[in-house]
Amino acid sequence: MSDDKPKDASAADQAKGAPEVKIMHVQTRFTTMTNRKGGMSREEAVERAETFVEQAVEKYPDWVDADMRALVAIVARIKKEGGFTKETYDEAYRGAGRVRDLGGTFGYELTTKVGDSLCELIFRLAEGGLHSQEALVTHMNALRLVCTPQFRGVPAASLADLMDSLKKLVNKYPDPDAELKRAEAERRASLVKPD
């Protein structure tokens, strides 16, 4: 918003000339307006929003059906092209994420888990320049199974064998983020203050 102007630029830094760090204290409209009187309590706001989500559940079968069809088409294209391109990587990841997110939002825990696993598989394959149609199809079959309405509210633990198989399948391929994760763990460890 136009009235979100910096109120307190770092004068000390500016005085030194060519500051390397500029700190601005900005009063945004968001901060100002959310704190006005007449607001809604957290309890009421959350209840209203959750009621909306619950009512939208009936749309889920149609939505997920459309998303699955699109995902099947992308997986077929990956097969035809013998692997991922930048475009099919983006589309496949986005497509798998769509199914996963919808399922998770509407209480399909298994869809979230299997979709998560498919996202990770796509990530590892595409980033590693690898291709395994078999691994993709296995995940697609699992996803097709668990995104159906009878699996709403079914805990992932009830299909532990399936989840374990998918995990093993994904872990066949190296994690492209392994080094980043190590570095982040070291960074965090370095921040720990001694007692």
Binding site: M24, T34, G38, A49, G97, T112, A156
Partner: protein, 190 residues
């Protein structure tokens, strides 16, 4: 949790997500919170364009946006001194919770990352957190965005890992994406 009422009336929200279903759900959730004005953007290009001429107070943004991705969108927004929306809160809603994406999100100038699937409570609590604990803006040669230095006590008012995230615990998943708790730590002190 914050017990203080929040008033979203009159504020303009933007949802930048290529998934029309997610946009529809987000619209419903925000309207449940009392939001009265919501703009949609189907890709990063549309979002950037609309942020120039619409009055937007909060941006929800997916990372994997077509045309202009979420990282580039946020960086452009933060770097543009003429943009009326330069300092608005930006919340990333994403499935792309790989380590590299969270690091890039943190460095792009986003206020916070929320992992999809959507959780009503998580969205509300993070909006409340931004409203109640506004951060200064920091501009350096490599970064423009909210101050990323947090205190050690984590998010205020008990906001933390979502209860539902226990189900997403990565212990029984491939060593894959970053959990919400880890994401929050990555947004903490550097």
């Amino acid at each position: 949790m914050s017990s203080k009422p929040m008033n979203f009336k009159g504020l303009n929200f933007m949802i930048a997500d290529s998934n029309e279903n997610i946009r529809a759900i987000m619209q419903g959730i925000l309207r449940g919170f009392g939001v009265t004005s919501i703009f949609d953007a189907v890709d990063g290009e549309v979002a950037l364009r609309d942020l120039q001429f619409r009055s937007v107070d909060v941006l929800f943004c997916e990372l994997n946006l077509p045309k202009v991705d979420g990282f580039s969108l946020i960086k452009s927004l933060r770097a543009d001194e003429s943009s009326p929306a330069r300092f608005i809160p930006v919340l990333i809603l994403t499935s792309h919770t790989q380590q590299r994406n969270i690091e890039k999100s943190r460095d792009s100038g986003a206020n916070i990352v929320i992992a999809k699937p959507l959780s009503v409570k998580a969205i509300y609590d993070r909006l409340a957190w931004i409203a109640e604990e506004p951060k200064a803006f920091v501009q350096t040669t490599g970064y423009i965005g909210p101050d990323r230095r947090f205190r050690d006590d984590g998010l205020p008012n008990g906001i933390g890992r979502r209860a539902a995230d226990a189900e997403l615990d990565l212990d029984d998943q491939p060593e894959s994406a970053v959990s919400e708790e880890e994401m929050e730590k990555m947004f903490e002190k550097r």
